[in-house]
Amino acid sequence: MKSGQAEIVETSKGIQKSGLMSRRIAILEFILRIVAFFNTISSAILMATTNETLPFFTQFIRFRAEYNDLPALSFFVVANAVVSGYLILSLALAFVHIVTSKTQNSRIVLIVLDVAMLGLLTAGASSAAAIVYLAHNGNNKTNWFAICQQFNSFCERISGSLIGSFIAVVLLILLILLSAIALSRRH
């Protein structure tokens, strides 16, 4: 009888320990969501406030460059804004995961939504990256001129705003990984 009681106490301690591990995973997820939110919102704002006016006027190129002159960059701003809004709203669900222990179904919902947002963010970031690469290097075969040779600070800003978005992509992958590990645990 006593050994049975000791066994029961031990297994309940084991349950408590793994419950603590699940709680730690949930707290880490919460923190990563906040960091990813700051990355996406700063990328969106940095890209949306990019414009440059050249002091001189040339025959072939306009003397003002804005982010919405290139549709891929406006798609980038919209995608980052949508993902940052999603991350803020999912903070509530992540907080619930810290507090409660029976989180399996809501974790599945969170994984599905995270995957969808990952796809959207990666699409926005990589299409903007392709256009930024083109703006830096141009294309000889198609006579697409490299506009970075005229608009230096514009190019620097649009290149810099890509970095935050790619960091958020990595963070979203980590979030999906953590959710999957938490889902597959026994408790």
Binding site: I61, R62, S126, F145, L183
Partner: protein, 208 residues
Amino acid sequence: MAKESTTIDVGEPSTVTKSTSHVVVDEKKKKKSFVAAAAGGGYKRGLAIFDFLLRLAAIGITIAASSVMFTAEETLPFFTQFLQFQAGYDDFPTFQFFVIAIAIVAGYLVLSLPFSIVTIVRPLAVAPRLILLISDTVVLTLTTAAAAAAASIVYLAHNGNANTNWLPICQQFGDFCQTTSTAVVAASISVVFFILLIVISAISLKRH
């Protein structure tokens, strides 16, 4: 002692029935747990089979996308002053990245088929499912990146950009534009397949 003997005496038939009923209850419990395991394994096995079929379809589509983009070229019969009269996928670094990335994704899918078969054979195992989910997420990112970058270049080739004086080359190279657009659409379909694969893995990871 007397009590024990009375229980034994009186309860001998009852202990016998108790033990038999206990055995019956045990067997029922075993049957229930076995049925439950098979049922839990049942729908997970169905999901694993669907996962395997999706992987096969995704292999076909990614190989098709990569090869269509690789063989996209067009030579114009005339010579113009501003544009070259030949267009191929290697004129665009983005399309080169697309071909290589989608080929890598096709190779990954072939390598992940054994893991998928393991999940069919052992539906309740967690480790292969977890490995598949994590690597599927990374490969989803790669595929989406390749498809979106190529899509933005294809959009530019179709529409050009008035603000930066980038001319739409599709007006000259119609066939090339069509072929590259087909490749981009095929890669986007494979992105949808990957999302479905990740959702299947997530649902199968659920423990009861």
